[in-house]
């Protein structure tokens, strides 16, 4: 779907004409619907991917409730809540970017997407602090565990779940930020219009999924 922006002229409304339709689709609307449906299916796979680690969380919480309780108290609720705020707000800005893109307001969309990416970056920075703290305390998974504050059995297992869940999530944050950045660049080039805004929508859907996973991770890891 790529086309050289330099070779195209802006339409009177101020955006580039939509890219050529693939030959096996009848019109832009059905193509956009198909792409959106494909994205939802992909989100379904992501939901199932995280399902496995949530299964692990509930399993080991059932085995080691005291350890999970103690370990949760040693996570910083302030940082966790701040991260939640960042992701929720970036979800808003992404949704607003989509709103602007489908009206062809490319510059607005660009700035909103840029803010979203920065919030994602902020999330990662905070996560980095938390991880660093864990490394210093030796609150680490498996055979690297050496954290005296957790006296109940099951401490190492909590940290396996913690690092795997948040690590996998952070990976998805990075992927989401990359997608949003790419889409932001295209918004800067004024590629989006009421006929063609699917990339913004779909990158946004991915980012919302990242947010969804965190909405579950936050209370399970930090609060209870």
């Amino acid at each position: 779907m790529q086309h050289s922006a330099a070779a195209q002229q802006l339409t009177p409304e101020g955006w580039l004409p939509p890219p050529p339709l693939p030959h096996h689709y009848d019109d832009h609307v059905s193509h956009a619907n198909a792409v959106r449906f494909g994205m939802w299916l992909f989100l379904g796979t992501e939901v199932l991917l995280f399902a496995g680690i949530f299964t692990g969380y509930f399993t080991f919480r059932a085995y080691f409730p005291e350890a999970f309780d103690q370990a949760a108290r040693h996570l910083s609720i302030v940082l966790g809540t701040l991260n939640t705020f960042l992701l929720l707000t970036s979800s808003l800005t992404v949704a607003l970017a989509h709103h602007n893109a489908e009206r062809g307001k490319n510059r607005n969309a660009f700035w909103l997407l840029a803010v979203s990416v920065m919030m994602g970056g902020g999330f990662l920075v905070i996560k980095g602090f938390e991880y660093h703290e864990k490394f210093v305390e030796h609150a680490l998974p498996g055979k690297f565990f050496n954290f005296s504050e957790i006296t109940a059995p099951g401490g190492p297992v909590f940290y396996v779940v913690y690092f795997f869940a948040t690590g996998l999530h952070a990976l998805h944050v990075i992927v989401g930020m990359s997608l949003l950045t790419w889409v932001a660049v295209r918004a800067w080039r004024k590629e989006f219009s009421p006929t063609y805004y699917a990339p913004v929508e779909n990158a946004g859907l991915y980012w919302h999924l990242v947010d969804l996973v965190w909405i579950f991770l936050y209370p399970l890891l930090y609060l209870v």
Partner: protein, 556 residues
């Protein structure tokens, strides 16, 4: 190879008309390497999958022969114990991930799904090509890991052995992870294609049954594969970093691994068998010249298998320490899945009843398929009985059961598809006599290989064992002899198909006289799939208005 006047020729074109090979078609539309490597034509991608999966079948078959040769004698025969463990691991991983899962969807699904729907391509052609390269990448990584001393854990890589073994598990796990993406991409593509690219007139209940089967398969691929992806990551991480998620010594739970693993791997067997069932639904109509009996039931049962198959995974954990409550629930659900398969079997037999049958090679494979599916399926229901499984678990009884389905049903389905659609894909006919001979060898060889294994398992011989007591020798020798017959049959097929590619008689548009939608296009089809607007107002496989058809017609 010499062609005899096959029965198929009689039922078709007007006497004396010599079919012409189309001048321009998907195979010669662009002959550079680049036009193949960067193609977005679903038919070319299908051919590339054919090459890849056939190599997978060959490799997996070689490992199988090594296993069977080793088991000729009770003690060491040709290899040592660790190598033997690697062999059955290789056999399982290669067969399942490089052949069984991608083969029918990747080859025949890719080739025929758009044509059967009246579309010009799948929904996302570039992702389709990507799925093939991801398959190759994952396969390479996995094979490299296996060859450089990896994996002696069996293809099920149970913990804690797989996380503590000294063999090089991590690349194998990552290879499986990568191949999983190929599976997801294919399934996703097919689902979107079916939802959005049906031609006008092709409503949901006018789609060919092969499409329904692929739809069910794709749903499973999309929903189940991520879980195995996560599980392989967890195993690789634990093996490399000693995390202890699945290791009891560190507080982990090995049963959790088995739950996560089989949550994918049980639906995975339906990924393998559903497309084969779809093929049978197509070919059985063509070779009995009769409308399918109970179209809606077969269509719905494909979805039924896809969904209910997700709730049955615990029958692999009956003897592993799972709770009795779960065991009971899973046993009941596993038997329920058999109902959907039984519905299909009754409908297929109903289609054959009073049909005008032409006994061709694909039809021979259909017969094999039905026989093996029924027996394999019934032994499956028997295994689902928890108390019986206590005796049979991890014995050759289980091995025979799943080979009856995987080889007996799925590979027969693959061979049916290969022969039924060979003329359409390549524009030439294969030699029928050689094909019938090979089919006979395969069915015979299959019986000789796996029926002794039921007896062995029931007598108590465990699976994955390098040595066995003397009293099992005779049955093992019989099984190996059968495997050799089977291998011989496959070699014959490979030879005559390869020759027929270049020297086969020109097939023409519809050598079987089949009423499936895909036979309306030329053989081989042009790149755009159709050379004229196709009439989709009729249902697929409607034989009620031709002269030489059975007089019985059923409600569809």
């Amino acid at each position: 190879m010499s062609q005899s006047a096959s029965p198929a020729q009689v039922a078709t074109a007007p006497a004396g008309a010599q079919p012409e090979f189309p001048k321009k078609h998907y195979l010669n539309d662009g002959t550079t390497i680049r036009s193949w490597l960067l193609t977005v034509d679903h038919k070319r991608i299908a051919i590339m999958y054919l090459v890849g999966t056939t190599l997978g079948l060959l490799l997996g078959g070689i490992f199988a022969m090594v296993i069977r040769l080793e088991l000729l004698t009770p003690g060491p025969t040709i290899i040592e114990a660790l190598t033997y463990n690697r062999m059955f691991t290789l056999h399982g991983l290669v067969m399942i991930f490089l052949f069984m899962i991608p083969a029918i969807p990747g080859v025949f699904g890719n080739f025929f799904l758009p044509i059967m729907l009246g579309a010009k391509d799948v929904a996302f052609p570039k992702w389709n090509l990507t799925s093939y390269y991801v398959y190759l990448a994952g396969a390479s990584l996995m094979l490299w890991g296996l060859i450089t001393g990896g994996a002696d854990t069996g293809w099920t890589f149970y913990t804690p052995y797989s996380t503590t073994t000294t063999t090089n598990i991590a690349p194998v796990m990552l290879g499986v992870f990568v191949i999983g993406f190929s599976s997801i991409l294919t399934g996703l593509n097919f689902i979107v294609t079916i939802h959005t690219l049906r031609a006008p007139g092709v409503t949901w209940f006018k789609m060919p049954l092969f499409v329904w089967a692929i739809y069910g398969t794709s749903i499973i691929q999309v929903l189940a594969t991520p879980v195995i992806g996560l599980t392989t990551l967890l195993v690789a991480a634990e093996h490399t970093f000693g995390f202890g998620f699945f290791d009891p010594a560190r507080g982990g739970d090995p049963i959790l691994f088995q739950h996560l693993f089989w949550f994918y791997s049980h639906p995975a067997v339906y990924i393998m068998v559903l497309p084969a069932m779809g093929v049978i639904s197509e070919a059985i109509c063509a070779f009995s010249r009769k409308n399918i009996f109970g179209y809606q039931m077969i269509a719905m049962s494909s979805l039924g298998i896809a969904f209910v198959g997700f709730f049955a995974w615990g029958h692999h954990l009956f003897t592993s320490g799972q709770s009795a409550f779960d065991a009971g629930a899973f046993a009941a659900i596993s038997m329920l899945v058999g109902v959907f398969t039984a519905i299909k079997v009754f409908n297929w037999v109903g289609t054959l009843y009073k049909g005008a049958i032409t006994f061709t090679a694909p039809f021979a494979y259909i017969c094999g398929f039905l026989f093996f599916l029924v027996f394999g399926g019934m032994t499956g229901v028997a295994l689902a009985t928890v108390s019986l499984d206590v005796h049979w678990q991890d014995t050759y009884f289980v091995v025979a059961h799943f080979h009856f389905i995987m080889v007996g049903a799925v590979i027969m389905g693959f061979l049916t598809a290969l022969h039924y659609w060979f003329p359409k894909m390549f524009g030439r006919k294969y030699p029928e006599n050689w094909a019938l001979l090979a089919a006979g060898l395969i069915v015979l060889g299959f019986n000789a290989t796996f029926i002794p294994q039921f007896l062995l398992g029931n007598a108590g011989m465990p699976r994955r064992y390098y040595e066995y007591p003397e009293r099992f020798t005779a049955l093992n020798v019989a099984s190996t002899a059968g495997a050799s017959l089977l291998a011989f049959g496959f070699i014959i097929i490979a030879i005559y198909l390869a020759i027929a590619l270049f020297n086969g008689e020109v097939a023409g548009r519809n050598p079987w006289g089949s009423r499936g939608y895909e036979w309306d296009t030329p053989s081989p089809p042009p790149t755009e799939n159709f050379d004229h607007p196709v009439d989709h107002t009729r249902i697929p496989h409607d034989y009620t208005d031709t002269e030489d058809v059975a007089t019985v017609s059923h409600a569809t």
